[in-house]
């Protein structure tokens, strides 16, 4: 493909970079990313991936936009309240960059549908806000050997890691099973600083762009912890667990599990 005059301008700051160039930009345009959630993490991540010219973005979110989302979920506007998040996200992203095809999914992901939905995407970006989805996405990515960017946030703190199944630890190597209900504050109690998911989601998008380009160092085997309150970043090494139930030597999880939602309120 040849770049149009508009594309040369749009992507010029990428093309100038020796690590990207026209070839890297074409790679991005031919790539696909599946985003789990169009919320606090998915919105900033998707916004930058669309701006970067990632050619195809799948976005799954079963919820409608609510006023309480607008403090951090930057793809949605006041006029979108009551409208499905996946569609609101699509409209914002395609307005930003017509080179990007956005495929919205308005059903909740579950053990029945996830494999089929994500199997043709290059990379998965998890921006989900609950443990059942997080474990479902991790297990599906391990079974499909899909690179996965994990991000999560809580109040003033966030964490990011990049999971390359077979090469580095997965989410279950870190936390084998979901915490028991009651261990985690319920969704209503938690609260989050609005800018926090912006930082974490954009770090996830950064990891995904490098993965697609095949350049730079990734957070493989590393968990990046960010505290917005103290403004500290910390990196901790994480290792594969040979006894990991999904990616270990003798995996016991060979098919997907639907854990029960502990919090009935979906954001």
């Amino acid at each position: 493909m040849d770049f149009s005059e508009e594309q040369i301008k749009r992507y010029s700051r990428h093309i100038i970079l020796p690590e990207v160039g026209g070839r890297g930009q074409k790679k991005l345009l031919q790539s696909s990313v599946f985003l789990v959630g169009a919320g606090g993490l998915g919105c900033p991540a998707a916004y930058y991936l669309a701006a970067a010219g990632v050619g195809k973005l799948g976005i799954a979110d079963g919820d409608d936009v609510d006023h309480s989302n607008l403090q951090r979920q930057i793809l949605h506007s006041t006029k979108d309240v009551g409208y499905p998040k996946a569609l609101s996200a699509k409209a914002t992203l395609e307005a930003l960059n017509p080179d990007v095809e956005v495929i919205p999914f308005m059903h909740r992901l579950n053990s029945e549908n996830i494999m089929d939905i994500i199997k043709d995407y290059d990379v998965i970006l998890d921006g989900s806000d609950n443990f059942p989805t997080r474990y479902l996405v991790n297990d599906a990515c391990v079974l499909l050997k899909k690179p996965l960017s994990h991000g999560s946030i809580f109040r003033f703190e966030g964490q990011v890691t990049t999971i390359l199944p077979g090469e580095g630890p997965c989410y279950r190597c870190l936390f084998e099973t979901p915490p028991p209900p009651g261990m985690v504050p319920s969704c209503q109690e938690a609260g989050v600083l609005g800018v926090l998911p912006g930082v974490i989601g954009v770090i996830q998008a950064t990891e995904v762009v490098k993965l697609l380009l095949g350049k730079g160092q990734l957070l493989k085997g590393q968990l990046l912890l960010y505290n917005a309150f103290t403004m500290e970043f910390k990196k901790v090494k994480i290792r594969r667990n040979p006894q990991c139930p999904v990616c270990g030597e003798n995996p016991t999880i060979k098919e997907l599990v639907d854990y029960q939602e502990f919090c009935q309120v979906h954001f």
Binding site: F3, I8, K9, S12, I15, I16, P18, G21
Partner: protein, 101 residues
């Protein structure tokens, strides 16, 4: 501008410099920075190592910027020549050899 070689006399034979005839030529008259460099880089990406690209520019800062940036990418600048003034606009000819893929 001291680093620029202005060896070509007016009416120079464009194929004379560098001793190599370009396998591709792009006319970037009317283009400004950074697009002069962006388009030069994109043209080189489509070429093979050893091939020579001729670039015509009329944006004066590009005469320094394009050779500097393209050298940073590992390519070789064979010549930078001022061409004849036509109707008040000055144009330059840059000759670049692709050294690195």
């Amino acid at each position: 501008m001291s680093s620029i070689t202005k060896k070509a006399p007016p009416q120079a034979d464009p194929s004379a410099s560098g001793g190599l005839s370009p396998s591709k030529s792009i006319n970037l008259k009317g283009e400004v920075c950074p697009y002069t460099f962006v388009k030069t880089k994109l043209a080189l990406e489509e070429m093979s190592v050893g091939e020579v690209l001729e670039v015509i520019v009329d944006h004066e800062p590009a005469v320094e910027n394009v050779p500097r940036s393209i050298q940073n990418e590992g390519q070789k600048v064979l010549a930078v020549e001022k061409l004849n003034d036509t109707g008040g606009t000055t144009t330059w000819r840059l000759v670049i050899k692709k050294e690195k893929d």
